[in-house]
């Protein structure tokens, strides 16, 4: 003996009886989830971009040109021992000059009048995989700065930090939209359920009189909520994907990110958003029923 076979058809008959209201609810959910998804998508790609640039980070240290060769060897050994250093490469003043000559082959005038030793010798440092996070690089940079013989330390911190700030800001926006999503869904779904309850109050009353349990009465409403969440968030994800594909072909990314190809939200994130919407709508439906389910 099970009441499940009776709950499912009742859900669909409830929804048929209140079609317009359910459609509007699903569309509202779709709209809010679309905004949330869009902001998640932007955050996700900005974060990826920042991660990619972090990976490209090379720390360049300038070495005092007056440092004797044996001190340079000592310095290289010390740097190699520092935590997070994967590889180092020593570039003499002459090698540095040759690199510049190659880079400015067509504009040799730029280098006219500069001697081969105008650049200080440098140490190029590659960091280990675990050091890509800026927060971890900072202590390494300060250790390098404190080493005698090193005059300056450079890394592409401005760009990476700017990207990270943008990603953090987007995350804040995403969280705010998430909150908005929560409130809107609670408001819209609970109102739809309350309207349905009002329209069907006589039927629900009769069901109570003939001995229906709260589960039997509540079941179709919770299922309705789940379906609204599924349809709304599913539509939103489809619309977001279409929007993403359209924008990818239309937008020309500016210089420094022109080689970055944005990707759509990964499957687990999409699944999470849909599952979250379903759970949220079902919970709101169940709670909206509570006041009705008295003895």
């Amino acid at each position: 003996m099970s009441i499940i076979p009776y709950i499912i058809p009742r859900t669909f008959s409830n929804m048929r009886g209140n079609r317009l209201s359910h459609l509007m609810t699903a569309l509202t959910i779709a709209f809010v989830v679309l905004i949330f998804g869009l902001s998640t998508l932007i955050y996700f790609n900005l974060h990826r971009l920042a991660e990619n640039y972090s990976r490209e980070i090379r720390i360049v240290t300038y070495i005092d040109p007056a440092l004797p060769p044996e001190d340079i060897e000592n310095l290289k050994a010390k740097v190699l021992k520092l935590r997070g250093v994967a590889k180092i490469r020593y570039i003499t003043s002459q090698e540095g000059y040759q690199r510049l000559v190659q880079q400015f082959q067509d504009e040799k005038d730029i280098l006219a009048g500069l001697g081969e030793d105008f650049l200080p010798p440098t140490l190029e440092i590659e960091v280990t995989g675990t050091m890509h996070n800026l927060e971890r690089i900072r202590p390494l940079v300060s250790e390098l700065t404190s080493l005698p013989g090193i005059t300056d330390v450079y890394y592409g911190k401005e760009w990476v930090e700017r990207l990270r700030r943008a990603a953090d800001f987007t995350r804040l926006i995403t969280l705010a939209i998430g909150g908005l999503l929560l409130l809107t869904t609670i408001f819209v779904v609970s109102n739809t359920i309350k309207l349905t309850i009002y329209l069907r109050r006589n039927e629900l009353e009769t069901m109570r009189l003939v001995g229906a349990t709260n589960f039997f009465i509540r079941g179709p409403f919770v299922l309705e909520g789940m379906l609204q969440g599924l349809v709304g968030s599913g539509l939103a994800m489809l619309a977001l994907f279409a929007l993403f594909e359209f924008l990818k072909t239309q937008v020309n990314f500016p210089g420094f990110i022109r080689f970055f190809s944005p990707i759509f939200l990964p499957v687990p994130v999409v699944t999470g958003i849909i599952a979250g919407s379903i759970i949220l709508c079902a919970t709101v439906s169940a709670f909206s029923m509570r006041q009705f389910l008295r003895v």
């Binding site: 076979p5 109570r208 001995g211 349990t213 003895v295």
Partner: protein, 242 residues
Amino acid sequence: MHNNAVIIIIRTTFADKLKNKMDSPLIELKHVYKSYEQDFTVLEDINLRIGKGEFVFVNGPSGAGKTTLLKVILCLERSTKGEVWVDGINLKRLSNYKIPYLRRRMGMVFQDFKLIENLTVFENVALAMEVCGVKKSVIEQKVDQVLKSLGLEIKKRIYPRRLSGGEQQRVAIARAVVNDPLVLLADEPTGNLDAGRAADIMSLFNEISARGATVIFATHNQELIRSTAKRVIILNQGRIVT
């Protein structure tokens, strides 16, 4: 020898319990009060015993507390004071969770029928079995049988709004009896019907009672009561007069 003594004791205890159960009324109200606000008492010191298979009229003017009395028995309302027992269950101690299961053992018929407009006659009656989780095949068989016994088999696919008042009340009775309830509670079931239809409905209740169900029939219709020789409980301003 020892084992035989144990068996005899068990048999005796079981027999005593069975006898007590048979002797005890199906419904018993002990000093029951029901008030909605401090100075608005609807039922006052109600003491009542109704035996298994009894047919009882509850009579009294409008506002006497007839409907509230039925609601208290069906556990739609909790008594403010006193004890209500139904088939050995003290309703005061019955948790909210168990109330639906109690209601499944009782059938209730209302003056306004309380049929669901968007369900057919068949579906309205079947609902009472669906909430119990009975198999579809069993439901079909039982509902058809009950509808047939009430002369409604040709109306089973029709929606309630296309039925006459008497037919709608018969559907409501079908829904109330389809689970073979111990008790059938009726709240002014003939109130919306003309004299001829009321007599039809009355004879239906007599048939149901003859099959063994306890019937509590609330009505303010004196004619109906005079036409039978059944026990009558008269309520006035929330108190039992006789």
